[in-house]
């Protein structure tokens, strides 16, 4: 991968992750940490607080976290907890955890009693996606709204919410634009650069994040050549991959990462919220329905397996086509139930759309990358041709 000023600019900001949040806290703002794509960021922003995506660190062995939390919890989540317990996120005023998976729900008490924040809120996102689920979720969102109002000491007006929705939609459009720049062959920005840029965005208030993405888009468009050598075009499928090591490894070995369906990629950024009508209803639709995650159970309406997987994973097929993908890497954490149980179905789907797929099971540790290297290399050689 070629390192130019564009790469350096992005990397520079990436390495400062958290410093802007700390600054804002020093200025008296409330910064609220969150994990997972299911937390309604518009609501936090509308309240006047600033949402901040909590990350783990695969370079750091989990130590303190293990004294309180079992090792059968999702390893990424354990790392986040370990860092929190070690005080890395002391600048936060609180944490919001959604009902996304057992690791999050079953460790909620451990987090909320062990960490020193005064604000902890659990957003109970429904498991199924029916009309009654939206009704329930709207009430939950209202409850979340009330809890933020208590924290901030001010009501959240409808126009605050609408404004926040607009800002986030703009943010998502800009990210979409960045993704468009990956369509060229080879792409105008590497997967590594994209992941870094997205990470930077998730650590800034949304208006600053918008400014940031404008900057990145301009810089990348100014390039006359790709930073990568043309190679097999890869889609990364999985949950939250909040580090760049995997993408970096793939690109080091000659792949071009051009698309994804990961949490801190398209799952976070592509679905937009309706800007007309009741904002709470719009949010409930966006987060429960438009967001596609294995945790949401979608009934099999087709009556056949092929019909079922086409409906559940249709977005993957669409991205694969849109970004002209040559192969996919399904990267699943050990101990991950939502994705773990879907591996056979996803496998079948990739076969169905004729996209070769590599399935990797990993433990979120830098020490493990060596193991992944051989497999990824073999896969790239296989599809390279």
């Amino acid at each position: 991968m070629k390192i130019d000023e564009v790469y350096s600019m992005i990397e520079n900001q990436f390495n400062q992750y958290g410093s802007r949040a700390r600054q804002l806290r020093d200025e008296g703002r409330k910064v609220i940490g969150y994990v997972c794509s299911f937390v309604p960021l518009e609501m936090i922003t509308a309240s006047g607080a600033i949402p901040f995506r909590v990350r783990g660190n695969i370079q750091e062995p989990i130590t303190l976290g293990d004294t309180l939390l079992e090792t059968i919890v999702c390893p990424y989540y354990r790392s986040c907890f370990d860092l929190s317990i070690k005080g890395r996120y002391e600048f936060l005023s609180g944490l919001v955890i959604p009902h996304a998976c057992d690791s999050m729900v079953r460790s909620y008490s451990v987090w909320s009693y062990s960490l020193p924040y005064s604000y902890f809120h659990f957003v109970n996102v429904p498991t199924v996606c029916e009309e009654s689920s939206f009704e329930f979720f709207e009430e939950e969102l209202k409850n979340f709204k009330r809890s933020l109002e208590r924290l901030m000491g001010e009501p959240i007006e409808e126009e605050d919410l609408l404004k926040a929705i607009q800002l986030y939609n703009q943010n998502r459009e800009k990210i979409r634009t960045l993704y468009e720049l990956r369509k060229s062959d080879p792409p105008l920005l590497s997967g590594t650069e994209l992941m870094m840029a997205l990470t930077v965005g998730s650590g800034l208030p949304v208006d600053e994040s918008n400014v940031w993405f404008d900057r990145v888009i301009k810089a990348v468009k100014g390039r006359n050549a790709s930073p990568l050598i043309k190679g097999p075009r890869i889609l990364i499928d999985g949950a939250c991959i909040d580090h760049i090591e995997l993408v970096k490894l793939v690109e080091e070995l000659g792949g071009n990462v051009v698309a994804d369906t990961i949490c801190n990629g398209t799952r976070d950024s592509f679905p937009k919220t309706e800007e007309s009508g009741d904002p709470i209803r719009a949010l409930s639709r966006r987060y429960l329905d438009k967001l596609n995650c294995p945790k949401t159970y979608r009934a099999n309406k087709a009556g056949t397996f092929e019909g079922d997987i086409a409906s559940r994973f249709g977005d993957i097929g669409a991205y694969a086509k849109e970004f002209r993908v040559d192969g996919a890497i399904l990267y699943v954490y050990k101990y991950c139930d939502p994705f773990g149980f879907e591996v056979p179905a996803r496998k079948a789907y990739y076969e169905f759309i004729h996209v070769p797929m590599l399935h990797l099971e990993d433990t979120y540790s830098a020490g493990n990358l060596g193991q992944l290297r051989t497999r990824i290399q073999a896969f790239l050689e296989m599809i390279g041709g």
Binding site: Q59, D66, G370
Partner: protein, 268 residues
């Protein structure tokens, strides 16, 4: 038999090494240890022979024997089996009555035992099944680096730039170490890093049962001066290490054997 002629044996059969201690009514007469080499029964016999030889006593003078450890069931002449936890508590309390937390770093398990001053147990924790946080990793590393196990401690203290390990797993550490050596890292730096990782895991285990001063490090792993130092650095606590840390459980077993006799269970 007169009380002064009675002797008591404590035998600790571990997965890596086995130890024995021979006491009379108020002194320690002999001690012996050797590698287990997978044949626990033969090792147990060998230890008995050596103890009798070194203490210049006869088999008929053995009043009571307590066995402990991984292979305790295979000591044919043992009158009683006690858990290693209890033997450790007893052994440490007899040497350091002010110690309240014992950390035994063995081959396959690390044990943390909270004790009172007399050998009673308040709480304990064993490291998990996968041997993370136990001494096996040191044996593996000695093999990889082609040095003697006994050299590990001193060598590691010479490190100027510790190499950080990312995993506590002995199996993965082996492959990580091999790649690091290929990259040109020094042996002492690898060992220092390994000690650091191991110390952190042990400290983590201790936090789960709670730490009360004073702290003693025992077991084979406590003979590794580098590990002891790393532990003190990581935990911020100073620790005491008995002169023969790997013999403590066998000593405790022998003390329990002697106690049994004072309760009138010994031989005629």
């Amino acid at each position: 038999m007169k009380e002064e002629r009675r002797i008591y044996l404590g035998i600790d059969i571990g997965s890596y090494s086995s130890k024995g201690v021979c006491l009379n009514h108020h002194d320690s007469l002999a001690s012996f240890d050797c590698l287990s080499r997978g044949d626990f029964k033969a090792t147990a016999e060998k230890i008995k022979e050596e103890l009798l030889l070194r203490s210049e006593r006869r088999e008929s003078e053995i009043s009571w024997t307590v066995a402990t450890g991984f292979g305790a069931q295979l000591v044919p002449y043992a009158k009683e089996i006690k858990t290693d936890i209890l033997c450790l508590a007893k052994g440490v309390a007899s040497i350091f009555p002010f110690v309240r937390t014992v950390v035994d770093i063995g081959d396959l398990y690390t044990k943390i035992v909270r004790i009172d001053g007399r050998g009673g147990i308040h709480n304990f924790l064993l490291s998990g099944k996968c041997a993370g946080g136990s001494g096996r990793i040191l044996l593996v590393m000695a093999k990889v680096l082609q040095i003697q196990v006994e050299e590990i401690g001193e060598l590691s203290l010479r490190s100027k730039k510790r190499v950080d390990f990312h995993t506590g797993c002995a199996v993965f550490s082996e492959s990580e170490a091999i790649s690091r050596i290929a990259e040109g890292e020094k042996k002492e730096d690898l060992l220092a890093g390994l000690h650091r990782a191991l110390a952190a895991q042990i400290y983590s285990l201790m936090e789960r049962v709670g730490i009360e001063k004073e702290i003693a490090l025992v077991g084979g792993g406590a003979r590794d001066v580098g590990l002891v130092q790393a532990f003190q650095e990581v935990s911020g606590y100073e620790v005491v290490v008995p002169p023969q840390p790997h013999m403590v459980a066998a000593l405790g077993a022998a003390l329990l054997a002697r106690e049994n006799d004072s309760r009138g269970q010994g031989s005629k």
